[in-house]
């Protein structure tokens, strides 16, 4: 998180006349109130999801919303988990996410090494391709990918959807890791080699440990992408028995809508999907911002 030294303006306010100082103080109070109000608006949907998840449906039926936190009943969550479709979807999501993370890290790490430690013909073209590919929207390719997976017989399979996820996530992961690899000076490795280590040993003992934070950040990024992805999954996994969690959640909402929507259970289902993501996201977010706008921020 960026908790940088503040560059607030009223530092020079002391020399002002008292009346103006009072005006500055009231305006600061107003700004503070505005800040709190905005924080409440932005956090409200997240709060409302969890709050509704823990309220019995009888209370949710009321026309007056129940604002106060946590009715404290886990019935909805239990009902959702025992519904029988949650665990298969969870298993599917975990499998897809794991394969994506592992392959992505391995492929991206090797590629990042190549582009930040070597100058070779075609390097610029590769970097350009990586940067362009990461901008391509899933919507622009999913019909063709659907046909491809149909031909390969990989529709509704973990492997099929994982291949597409790896390809979608690897470009940005390469870009992210490139920054980390480039941040470790080659001199360090060379010094170790002068001290008698082989190139591989120098790499494993010196560079690799320094890269660990980068690998963790990229891994969490890949995990989040695979875990949250909806668009490609919708096309590649049409069978409800092979749904990942986002598809399961959508199916759950639709199923529930045919009766009167049981919002308590729907919100419990959303919460189950969202909580792991929120936890992982809080770990990785600083790096994601800096990767996307790096360069611009540092002028």
């Amino acid at each position: 998180m960026t908790v940088a030294t503040s560059t607030r303006m009223p530092a020079v306010a002391g020399r002002r006349r008292p009346r103006s100082r009072r005006r500055i103080r009231t305006s600061r109070i107003l700004l503070g109130a505005l800040g709190i109000a905005l924080a409440l608006i932005w956090v409200f949907p997240v709060y409302w999801m969890m709050n509704s998840a823990l309220l019995p449906n009888v209370i949710l039926q009321n026309t007056t919303p129940t604002w106060l936190p946590f009715g404290g009943s886990w019935d909805n969550v239990i009902a959702v988990v025992q519904g029988g479709t949650f665990f298969p979807a969870l298993g599917m999501s975990v499998a897809v996410a794991l394969i994506t993370v592992v392959c992505c890290l391995a492929f991206a790490f090797l590629a990042a090494l190549a582009i930040s430690r070597f100058r070779f013909r075609g390097r610029r073209a590769f970097v350009l391709a990586v940067l362009l590919i990461q901008m391509l929207p899933a919507e622009g390719l999913f019909i063709a990918q659907y046909k491809l997976m149909g031909t390969l017989g990989l529709l509704n399979t973990v492997v099929g959807v994982s291949i597409l996820y790896i390809a979608a996530v690897v470009p940005f992961t390469i870009w992210m890791l490139r920054g980390f690899v480039a941040g470790i000076p080659v001199d360090l490795e060379e010094a170790a080699m002068v001290d008698g280590l082989s190139r591989t040993q120098a790499f494993l003992r010196i560079t690799f440990p320094l890269l660990a934070p980068g690998l963790v950040a990229s891994g969490v990024y890949a995990f989040l992408q695979a875990w949250n992805e909806f668009t490609v999954a919708l096309v590649i996994l049409p069978q409800s028995s092979s749904a990942t969690l986002p598809l399961w959640l959508r199916g759950f909402v639709q199923q529930s809508a045919s009766r009167a929507t049981d919002w308590g259970q729907v919100m419990a289902a959303s919460t189950l999907v969202a909580v792991p993501v929120i936890v992982f996201f809080l770990i990785v977010q600083g790096r994601m911002t800096s990767g996307l706008v790096s360069g611009a921020v540092k002028g």
């Binding site: 409302w48 391995a106 046909k147 986002p246 959640l249 929507t261």
Partner: protein, 324 residues
């Protein structure tokens, strides 16, 4: 900033980076370029070719063919060259969808960036405690998976027992049982609110990171010279953070063009698809809905070209960073 940024700044790369190659070419034949980098790139290139390269080529070819349900079942596809594109771009509905997508994307991106800048300035101006509260709230919103977020917002805008209708009615307006998703205009308003809610945190954090680079001396000097708040913002702060603003706005435009998940999940609630389609859902409807793969491919190619054109500036900016 993060550790990554710090190390990158603390240890600048040498101006002429010629890192030692992995193996000195001591064999009988000297190679000009060592094979190692290509070997390292191989896995990434292979998976990209399989999962993106092949579909891309297939799509280009198919968009020049007649490819519908019959071809699905084995009938060979015949080449019609640009007929699909002609059909597509002479169909007024295409232009409706294209216009709608662009309008939605520009308006949403503009609203998002303006609110994001406002939030960043606010974070800069308020007490540290309030700033942290605001940052935590934004992070939580940012962390929500798209599908979960859409589900909650559907609940908030639910016509019978949604909080939004309740609050508006309590505020004296007649929103009892108002269905927001039936009218296309209010459908897109709801979509805009949701997409903005999702995207503001990224903008706010990026711009705030930019603001922390503005030195307080410069701002104070301007203040002593008599620059008022608005003038300081307009002539001192905004020019300094302009690079960040440009990138952030560009990314928002590109991202708001691809809102398939959001629109699809709102359509699920029972609005008429043809009145609320954007480019992504239109492709889905053509390809998955009516199995017209040729037309779906043609629209996809159009979307890809549009994205590449828009992304070009961003990519050029990143390339410059790579070369520095």
């Amino acid at each position: 900033m993060t550790a990554a940024e710090d190390t990158r700044v603390a240890i600048p790369r040498p101006p002429t980076p010629t890192p030692a190659p992995m193996r000195t070419p001591d064999g009988p034949r000297r190679r000009r370029t060592p094979l190692t980098p290509y070997t390292l790139l191989l896995p990434a290139i292979l998976i990209l070719l399989l999962a993106l390269g092949y579909p891309l080529v297939w799509q280009l070819v198919t968009s020049l063919q007649h490819f519908g349900l019959a071809q699905q079942f084995g009938k060979p596809a015949d080449f019609v060259w640009f007929e699909n594109y002609v059909t597509l771009f002479t169909d007024p509905y295409t232009w409706v969808v294209v216009g709608r997508s662009i309008a939605f994307c520009l308006v949403t991106a503009a609203v998002t960036v303006v609110i994001g800048i406002g939030m960043a300035l606010l974070m800069n101006a308020v007490h540290k405690a309030i700033r942290i509260i605001l940052q935590i709230a934004l992070l939580l919103a940012w962390a929500m998976p798209v599908v979960a977020a859409m589900t909650v917002w559907n609940w908030l805008f639910d016509w019978r027992r949604g909080v939004v209708n309740y609050l508006l009615t309590a505020g004296g307006l007649d929103f009892q049982d108002h269905n927001w998703l039936q009218n296309p205009l209010s459908f897109f308003f709801v979509a805009m609110v949701i997409v903005t809610w999702m995207s503001v945190p990224f903008v706010a954090f990026s711009v705030y990171a930019g603001l922390t680079q503005v030195s307080s001396e410069v701002v104070e000097a301007a203040q002593m010279d008599g620059a008022r708040g608005w003038q300081r913002l307009r002539y001192i702060i905004l020019p300094i953070i302009r690079p960040v603003l440009g990138i952030v706005l560009l990314l928002q435009i590109i991202w708001d063009l691809r809102v398939f998940a959001q629109i699809k999940l709102l359509q699920d609630k029972g609005s008429i698809a043809s009145e609320t389609n954007l480019l992504g859902t239109y492709i889905y409807q053509l390809g998955v809905g009516s199995s017209d793969f040729a037309m779906a491919s043609a629209v996809s190619v159009f979307v890809l070209l549009l994205t590449v054109a828009l992304s070009w500036f961003y990519v050029r900016h990143l390339l410059k960073e790579d070369e520095s």
